[in-house]
Symmetry: C2
Subunit: 252 residues, 2 copies
DNA sequence: GCAAAAGTGTTTGACATACACCCATGT
DNA sequence: ACATGGGTGTATGTCAAACACTTTTGC
């Protein structure tokens, strides 16, 4: 059944990026120190973190694995490690910085060779302040122009983007994509970038101010030959996302 | 492999129904040349289904395992089985009927002895038409008066209830708890039972009618010494829940 | 003084809420 | 005729959407 889903993805070249292709997959989750011929009785658990940031007016996703074998950052949780902790660790290793938001998305089971794998997908948001490219072979890749991905990676990435867009409508999640201080115009641009649409300046400002999650700093930003913009800060404490993440998520 | 047999699994039939139970793991991708005593490097995957129904004016949860060891119905997916399919199978085995709604909730990893376990939690809704008690040692237990549960079970159950309540506000999920035809008063009572609060009759009817998800049947129900009530039916097709379940969830 | 982005209010329609009485039936 | 639950409409407030001009700065 799951195979049908995978094969139904008409991504074309994506098929070649499938985990089973090529020999250069030394970092495959189970390829590390597997005892040849050992009985592997449970599935391999694979935590995959789809990390977004906003840069250059575009929504970007962190990928690693090099340009010809792009992959979503991933890793295996150790038995004693909560899944959320594993996702945090993987995210930080792949990005070289702290994500501002992390949320479990969905879990799926793939019967694919070389091994039964349970994939736990996570969504991470990274503030655009942390600028540069991720360390190692990681890159930030424009969501509008993604390289070929393995079908499972593409599913997880597509779903992460869907959820990110949906959550923009009813949460304050977008603030996690901005640097510590920012102007209202920058905030609005972040929304517009993710939603791929325009928003009314006055209505946007009214709503976001009325929501009470912003604090205006005394500082202003002088940007060019025009009036300087007031800088705002995300009010600490209103931080935690609420009911979509279980209260006990700390132990996940 | 032997460890799998040791894992407490009093579900009886449900556990035995798993294709992977027993010794013949011939379909395992790389387990063909099994070496006894080898390292068990993957976790046990445990799908747990929190099934709700409305009966007797109360919200109830399906439990099995007997009165002194009440547990949430559970089972193990086989490697080739999508998690959603496993949840459906477990749900039907435990309830002896088809659930009307099934949604993945959250995945957590427990280092607890006797073995590393990854729990995938599901929410199921059962229409109150299907009346009686579940088969075997299963019972419907009032949510207001739950027996003692293992901590993990209680977390999953509490979270399922939280999500159910939250989703009532912005989805049509509650229709899955009702029989095929029902009166508007019954529908309203279901909402009130779950939310533990009163709703205004006229506003409730106006909204639910305006939403367009109901079709009035030509029939009426004569109930007592009062005017008969019109029977409604949940319009088919508006059925599937939308953006909280991934589009590819069929393969999960 | 002009270009360029920041900032600011009012009007309008849609929707949620509060609220009370008549209707159809069985006894 | 009366008891019981089924069924209906109106007035009010809240909130989101549409819409255009003035302000501050650098050059």
């Amino acid at each position: 059944m799951a195979n049908r889903q995978l094969e139904a993805h008409p991504t074309g070249p994506a098929a070649d990026a499938s985990p089973s292709a090529g020999t250069a997959r030394l970092d495959h989750p189970i390829g590390q120190d597997a005892v040849p011929g050992a009985v592997l009785d449970g599935p391999s658990v694979d935590v995959r973190v789809v990390a977004f940031t906003v840069a250059g007016g575009a929504l970007q996703v962190a990928l690693d694995g090099g340009p010809d074998a792009a992959r979503i950052p991933r890793g295996k949780p150790s038995p004693a490690e909560p899944l959320d902790a594993a996702a945090r660790r993987i995210s930080r290793a792949a990005l070289g910085l702290q994500e501002q938001y992390l949320e479990q998305l969905y879990t799926l089971s793939l019967p694919e060779p070389p091994r039964w794998t349970v994939i736990v997908g996570y969504l991470a948001l990274v503030s655009s302040g942390r600028g540069g490219a991720p360390p190692g072979d990681g890159v930030w890749s424009d969501t509008a122009d993604l390289p070929a991905l393995a079908p499972a990676d593409r599913m997880v990435a597509d779903y992460a983007l869907t959820r990110l867009r949906a959550k923009l409508g009813y949460t304050n999640i977008a603030f996690h994509l901005l640097p510590e201080t920012f102007t209202l115009t920058e905030l609005q641009h972040a929304y517009e970038t993710i939603l791929a649409g325009r928003l009314d300046k006055r209505n946007f400002r009214r709503r976001v101010i009325a929501s009470g999650i912003l604090v205006q700093t005394p500082d202003k930003r002088r940007d060019g030959s025009h009036r300087p913009a007031a800088l705002y800060r995300f009010r600490p404490g209103d931080d935690r996302e609420t009911y979509l993440t279980p209260p006990w998520a700390a132990g996940a």
